[in-house]
Amino acid sequence: MTKVERAAARRGGKRSGPPEPEFVQLLTPEGERVSHPDYSVDFTDDELRGLYRDLVTVRKLDAEATALQRQGELGIWASLLGQEAAQVGSGRALRQQDMAFPTYREHGVLYCRNIDPIMPLGLFRGVDQGGWDPVAHRFNMYTIVIGAQTLHATGYAMGIVKDGKVGDDDETSEAVIAYFGDGATSQGDVNEAFIFGSVYNAPIVFFCQNNQYAISEPLERQTRIPLYQRAAGFGFPGIRVDGNDVLATYAVTRAALDNARHGQGPTLIEAYTYRMGAHTTSDDPTRYRVASEVEAWQAKDPVVRMRKLLEKQGIADEAFFAAVDEQARVEAVALRERVLSMPDPDPATMFDHVYPNGSPLIDKQRAEFETYHASFEGSH
């Protein structure tokens, strides 16, 4: 056995993936609709086709970004490959007025907030560090420090309570969703967010995409119990959903968000999924996981099962699938062209926006910087 295989064997003696956990599932990997006693969805055919289109598109845009990184056009990329259903399901479950606090991997959620997918690419290209208005987009800037944003999300949710925006009206009452991963659950910030959210009964959904790995470290380095069970210790419900099932993820998230906006406090959702790609383009997952594990998850692909459903229900034909693929391709090409035409910032702009009210120290340094650079003009 190789070292990686021995490690996999220690994790339960199976090389065909982890044991099937108990979770909420409405769509099996084979594309069968199944029912659950507590959760259901009632989608029109159009809506089902729309979810499929979302899944295909976010996967295609993600692949394009990975390619752009490989070609040197992005400094780094954090791929969502494999997590499309967790992101589309939860992203589409948000109501217009809800606020999302992403990590750096929530490109699919961003897409489902109807935000231009170019928005976060400046960060990965290195021409900015975000640069968008979180409140205007109802989508916070990507947060790179693991788990830090869960506290911002909780504080924002505490503000919703203070503003009197918790209530029964689904169209005006607000809720917050905080995204984080399995690794983040070990962070103090995340545990403190659970505490603050709980004791102030904040309208927040803690949405953990358990993709099984924190870079190279498997789940067993973060926890001895299923993550969703952590919620009990903090005094709010926790639930595990099949994160590769867009229907179940939608149903569970929508219910948790509505509970939160109605004043019932936080929920922890563990979306059980798998990071099919690398942590980022700087990572080499073959050093820490075996191919058989990846293959086992391949069989649970979130996009394929949705396509099977549409086929079984006879609500989409080859022409539809081809059109979706073509539309995604067109969007990806457009994204590529816009990335390539992103200009580098004027270096002097690095002195901008350090303080809302400015600072004489920075003004002085900017002036010195500009004088220094001006001294070279005409010398080449």
Partner: protein
Amino acid sequence: METLTLGKSLNLGLRRAMEDDSKVLIMGEDVGKLGGVFRITDGLQKDFGDERVIDTPLAEAGIVGTAIGLALRGYRPVVEIQFDGFVYPAYDQIVCQVAKFHYRSRGKVSLPMVIRIPFGGGIGAVEHHSESPEAYFSHTAGLKVVACSNPSDAYWMIQQAIASDDPIIFFEPKRRYWEKGEVDTAAPLSSAYPLHSSRVLRSGGDATLLAYGPMVRTCLDAATAAAEDGRNLEVIDLRSLSPLDMAPVFESVRKTGRAVVVHEAPGNIGLGAEVAARISEECFYSLEAPVLRVTGYDIPYPASRVEEEFLPDLDRVLEAVDRSFGF
């Protein structure tokens, strides 16, 4: 004019800020019913309610992190860190998030937060209750850092800090909480001395003493003692540690030719080093002697029975002035 302690001045300043702007919140450990361990928030929860004066879980990163979210929501949180040595669990949130949100957003969002930290020694406390961590924050771009030294400044500076859209670390000289001074509480906020300005508190032509927070009183006392020996020392309260307001300092040093910087924090890589470097860059030909520093020693804050030997005092300041005149 009212005669108030520094602590009461802060309390009245907070009260006035809360009256002026309903978005101002106070958050921290024991700030509610208890009024804070130093009673700086005394009576505020009673009058403004527990939705605005919030007793938080005992978790500093959580306090600062949720304050960020409240600021994004449009509130103006004023966070109390109970003691200087307890701020470190929140250090990541302060340095990586509070300091960088505005920059990260290219100016599209601001975090108008104040983080109040009682700092410094001299109260006979146990470990972690007497530290001076101001250099850590002054070194961080995106934060502004101020320290008040007297009741009038305490009253005005806390209101100015709360009204500012910049995130501000607000250091309070805890051993001076009980010292009294005159405060014109009836004046409008707009008439207050600018927040990020240093201030000459005593004029003198022979040497310049530079200090902030608790050491300002020490330097004023030293200047009084020096005057009896015929030496006129100018005393400048730096007030703003980031950004430093150096123009009055340069003006003073060009006049006196001698400068001594005084702070409780250890000297190594401290505020005094930055002040000395700036003076040497701008006033080189005016200097009669190197800029000297009188600081805490480069050791962990010692046990309280020897802290008086650790802290700069009047005699150490005057000894440094003597050394300056020895060049």
